[in-house]
């Protein structure tokens, strides 16, 4: 590991100023991804600015009903928070579906958004990777890509974003807030991750040196009936090969509101807007759910080794929405 300087910031302006002193600096949150990448040589910072002690560790409901989540809130605290569990249960489920109890105690919300792909070529400095070394090539396209992207990828990079949390945040219209030396800013999660194109090394819309300060979720009554389902190659403690975050509001058999996002299919959490449009105002039936999934997945461009994901995601969409519709029907009957 390259030698590095370490500084602990106690406030946001201090953190920004420290980062500005060194071009090869990185913010350190929980370190569960960054420290691992430093060990393997993928990350070689000259300075770590530790932001764990910044006063950004709170979760609160603002007067306008917006849920504010500080950037240094740990995954554990986010998942366990009563308002998260009540208003956005799929977010709690998504966080709990990721990593292990130990890692969730360390990892932070800001760091989760900025974690890097787990593509094996990205993690191996002896291999080419356009994301790590621009212009060096992408061996995954013709190589090991069983868990790579089916949506929104390019010939320059087919890696997927590994976050579970981000999939639920995408479904619920999260906004990422940040600070820069020139003042604060905000960007919807939908625009936070840049299209891959021919610049996969440019991952987010954050300005240089910006520090994520938090994430907000607008009030969304539909999210109270939401679910996250993740498929992986073992029962626990593994990255997704496909996942779905869904929320559904059915009234008299008709879809009144719906949120749908997919994980492990693209370089960002994938909000399934075409599927949502296909569902709104239509019947809440398995046929309609399948057709909506098809409407989204018509854009899929699977590689030779990952075509299974198209079927997997379609099946997940039908299964999760069918469950939510059935529960909604039971609730309607009980309150009638």
């Amino acid at each position: 590991m390259r030698e590095f300087d370490y500084r602990r910031a106690s406030d946001v302006p201090g953190a920004l100023a420290l980062l500005g002193t060194e071009p090869e600096a990185r913010y350190l949150g929980g370190g569960t991804n960054l420290v691992d990448l430093m060990k393997s040589g993928v990350e070689r910072p000259a300075l770590l600015v530790d932001v764990r002690e910044l006063p950004l560790e709170r979760i609160e409901v603002a007067d306008d009903g917006v849920l504010r989540i500080g950037a240094t809130v740990t995954n554990s605290d986010l998942a366990a928070h009563p308002e998260v569990r009540r208003r956005y249960p799929a977010l709690t489920q998504a966080v709990l579906a990721g990593a292990s109890g130990q890692l969730r105690n360390m990892a932070t919300v800001g760091g989760n958004l900025l974690q890097r792909t787990r593509c094996a070529y990205f993690a191996d400095v002896s291999k080419a990777c356009n994301r790590r070394v621009p212009g060096s090539g992408c061996p995954a396209v013709a190589g090991e890509h069983r868990n790579h992207a089916i949506l929104g990828a390019s010939t320059h990079c087919v890696a997927v974003h590994p976050s579970d949390m981000g999939v639920a945040l995408a479904a619920f219209d999260a906004v990422v807030h940040y600070a820069t030396a020139d003042g604060p800013g905000a960007v919807p999660l939908a625009e936070f991750y840049l299209p891959v194109g021919d610049t996969p090394h440019r991952e987010t819309a954050l300005p240089p040196g910006a520090l994520i300060t938090g994430v907000t979720l607008p009030p969304a009554p539909v999210a109270a009936a939401s679910r996250y389902r993740k498929v992986r190659e073992r029962a626990s403690y593994a990255f997704a090969i496909g996942s779905v975050a869904a929320a559904l509001d059915v009234r008299d058999g008709v879809v009144h509101d719906v949120r749908l996002a997919f994980g492990a299919v693209a370089s960002r959490p994938w909000r399934a807007q075409a599927a949502e449009r296909a569902l709104i105002g239509g019947p809440a039936t398995a046929e309609a759910f399948g057709a909506a999934a098809d409407a989204e997945l018509t854009a899929a461009e699977p590689l030779p080794g990952n075509g299974y994901k198209v079927t997997l995601i379609r099946n997940l969409v039908v299964a999760v929405l069918t469950e939510l519709a059935e529960e909604s029907r039971q609730t309607e009957e009980a309150t009638r």
Binding site: G31, T32, S76, R85, G101, Q102
Partner: protein, 192 residues
């Protein structure tokens, strides 16, 4: 500000303050084992994937292989050497002994530290990925075998002693609940 790639840190480990100079690259795991002689904490994968290096940092379980020692400056660390009360074993240690929750023993310090925290997390009402209804109104889920397996999934055991580990964790949870005036937190056979 001249760059500095090393410095002195102070950690409170098992109730005792230690000040030591460290290179910034040193993990908490290596500081414990190589610098302080606390070799109970084990190095398995060194990548955060196996849980053998689990310790409690500020009372919460973490993998010490991904925790930079310098970033733990000023904090409290509990390792396997510090969980017993003098000669009296921690209830989780006792349960692992009584129910054969190990074979070779290499993963055991991490399993025990992890289990201590997992039982506390459950008692505090934290749901897990095995919890059917995560809404707070649903209350604390019973600590079933599925719940224990999920909550302990960050600790691998290459001997495959999982069946006994689940029973040991359930037994210890039952003991600690009884002490706190609660009962029947688990339905795992052999635990009560």
């Amino acid at each position: 500000m001249a760059p500095s790639t090393a410095g002195a840190i102070t950690l409170t480990i098992n109730g005792e303050k230690h000040t030591l100079p460290v290179d910034n690259r040193t993990t908490l795991l290596d500081a414990l084992r190589e610098r302080l002689g606390l070799t109970g904490t084990k190095k398995g994968c060194d990548q955060g994937q196996c849980g053998a290096c689990t310790v409690l940092l500020g009372g919460r379980r973490v993998v010490s292989c991904l925790q930079l020692a310098v970033a733990a400056e000023g904090r409290e660390v509990t390792t396997i050497e510090g969980v017993a009360d003098g000669e009296r074993l921690h209830p989780v240690q006792q349960a692992f002994l009584d129910l054969d929750g190990f074979q070779c023993g290499y993963c055991t310090p991490g399993q025990i530290c992890s289990a201590i925290a997992a039982i506390e997390e459950h008692a505090a009402g934290w749901p897990s990925a095995a919890t059917t209804d995560v809404r707070p109104e649903a209350g604390i889920p019973p600590l079933t075998a599925d719940e224990i397996r999920e909550r302990m999934s960050g600790n691998l055991c290459r001997c495959g002693a999982y069946v006994s580990i689940v029973q040991a964790v359930a037994r210890a949870a039952e003991d600690s609940a009884r002490t706190a005036g609660r009962t029947d937190v688990t339905d795992v056979e052999g635990a009560a």
